[in-house]
């Protein structure tokens, strides 16, 4: 019964993953005969590629910003919207809305908001007399990465709010009641009840968001294509450009393998940290 699925999966997932390993040891433009170069691609990537290091740095910054802000806002909003009142359900539905849009649509909408001449953000800044803050958000290498990160946070915070609400609603009400009897302030309740009890959910949210930020492609491609001057280039856009703009297929394959190892390492570290954290609380 599993045969058709397994055949397709092997042919278009497992087999390509193995071919990819082979490509990573070749110098190949996708057309002429590939040349075997051993581990030279890996060596070049790690010791001789400033652009790669810059983009890796971009991606780490992008991930940190998105993980911290998206998780923080989502937890905050979830504590605000915890009870299933009409208003809260309505707001959750509104917040979730961007999640159903395509990255391309979101990217193009924000391209308008950020537009230096006609955009909404600069129009608002000028209207309240902050003309000096009106920037070329996507066209300036100083801001582009942050501008794209903000869009990503806007895009997926609502989804994380829903995940947090589901997690926080599992916390027994008695814990809060007991805390209140003890005279705990709102902040103390958050610190001593909500935060430790929400840790498993936080682990899920952080892991999912991290992977999402290391896989990001569509949004970047639609907004800046990685520019200007690679300031908003991330790992997957880099792989795409290496292969389909630079025609370095072997080198691009090497980059994807680095990406897999990086994602696995980050996931492993996060699991360890969050599990240890979980253990000490018991």
């Amino acid at each position: 019964m599993a045969a058709p699925a397994f055949a397709l999966y092997s042919f278009l997932y497992l087999y390509p993953a193995v071919t990819n390993l082979l490509y990573s040891t070749q110098r190949w433009d996708g057309v002429t005969t590939p040349e075997f170069v051993g581990l030279k691609n890996f060596q070049n990537l790690l010791t001789n590629d400033d652009l790669f290091l810059k983009i890796l740095g971009n991606n780490i910054r992008f991930s940190l910003i998105v993980v911290i802000f998206q998780t923080g806002f989502a937890l905050l909003f979830a504590t605000f919207l915890l009870k299933n009142t009409r208003t809260n359900i309505f707001l959750r539905t509104v917040y979730f809305f961007p999640t159903i849009l395509s990255s391309v649509s979101v990217g193009l909408i924000w391209t308008f908001l950020y537009d230096p001449n006609y955009g909404f953000i600069n129009a608002v800044l000028k209207a309240i007399g902050l003309d000096s803050l009106a920037m070329n958000w996507l066209g300036d290498a100083r801001f582009s990465l942050y501008a794209v990160a903000l869009t990503q946070v806007w895009f997926h915070t609502g989804q994380m709010v829903v995940i947090y609400v589901a997690g926080l609603q599992q916390i027994p009400a008695e814990l809060y009641e007991a805390a209140e009897v003890d005279g705990a302030s709102r902040w103390q309740q958050f610190k001593n009840v909500t935060w430790p009890m929400a840790l498993p959910t936080t682990a899920v949210v952080v892991a999912y968001t991290t992977i999402q930020t290391f896989r990001a492609f569509d949004l970047i491609y639609a907004m800046t294509s990685g520019g200007p001057l690679n300031s908003s280039d991330l790992l997957v856009t880099m792989v795409f450009n290496t292969a389909f703009v630079g025609y370095k297929f072997g080198y691009a394959a090497t980059q994807t393998i680095f990406l897999v190892l990086l994602v696995l390492l980050v996931t492993y570290l996060q699991r360890r940290v969050l599990r240890i954290d979980d253990g000490t609380k018991k």
Binding site: L8, Y9, F96, S103
Partner: protein, 271 residues
């Protein structure tokens, strides 16, 4: 008191941050460029469908809409069919083979789909599957199988084993048990997964961008990217195109909010 002000301010700001851009797009699709730039949030001077007409006359919206529909619907259908068969086989397996099968698909969860772009590109070039919607469907199925198997398996695992066994004792073969017991029971999981898959497939850019370059095979996200170049200076046309491309998702979201949110959340949590 201070807490309440803080809370309500933040909640309002984020609600506005979602609603304002959405309104700009909807209103903008009825406006001329000048109106969008001068008063993006005002109601249009006149509600007319000029932009929609221009978009349709340009002949570039029906085909991608049709292509996206074909690709998303077939990808979801076959992924669900294949994934539920695998999940059923895993659930019913009494030997180690079920665990091996599960392990192999779990491997796919660890390798992000983006990693395979180069080998899939070369493979498809060799097979002549570039510029083919069929090829795109194949890739979509392969890429979304691991997560779908995972979600549906998790659901089957929670069902009491007796449900299947009783039917088997009654002499029903595997196909029958799958069709008349497993699938009807799994309806909530199947529904959630379908929505999750539909959104992914409808919105995907990376693989179509790489595999499709013939105009009559393009999907909506690709066409939107083309519009960005074509209508670089015309946000009114861009907004109209975005609105048209988002209509199916928005309608589904309005009418099936709950399953939508459940589906997309399950995809994130289980993934």
């Amino acid at each position: 008191m201070i807490y309440k002000i803080f809370k309500n301010t933040l909640l309002t700001i984020f609600a506005a941050a979602v609603l304002i851009p959405s309104s700009i797009v909807v209103l903008g699709s009825f406006k001329k460029d000048v109106e969008i730039y001068s008063k993006p949030l005002a109601l249009p001077d006149s509600w007319n469908l000029d932009n929609f007409r221009t978009l349709i006359d340009s002949g570039s919206v029906f085909t991608p809409f049709k292509n996206s529909t074909i690709v998303a619907v077939s990808s979801v259908f076959f992924t669900i069919l294949f994934a539920s068969l695998v999940a059923y086989a895993i659930a019913r397996s009494v030997t180690v083979s079920g665990k091996v099968l599960f392990g192999l698909f779990a491997l796919g969860l660890a390798i992000p789909g983006q990693v395979n772009i180069i080998p899939i590109f070369t493979l498809f070039t060799d097979l002549g599957l570039n510029n083919s919607l069929f090829g795109l469907v194949l890739v979509n199925i392969a890429l979304t199988l691991p997560i779908s198997v995972f979600i549906i398996s998790a659901f089957f695992k929670d069902l009491p084993k007796e449900m299947f066994e009783v039917a088997s004792i009654d002499g029903a073969n595997h196909w029958r048990v799958y069709r008349s017991i497993a699938m009807p029971l799994a309806r909530p999981a199947i529904g959630a997964t379908s929505i999750f898959l539909f959104v992914i497939n409808w919105n995907d850019l990376l693989y179509p961008l790489m595999l499709i370059n013939e105009l009559d095979k393009k999907t909506l996200p690709l066409t939107l990217i083309d519009y960005r170049g074509e209508f670089a200076t015309s946000y009114s046309m861009l907004f109209t195109a975005i609105l048209v491309a988002s209509i199916p998702m928005v309608l589904m979201y309005i009418f099936a909010q709950r399953s939508f949110i459940a589906g997309l959340t399950a995809g994130a949590v289980k993934g």
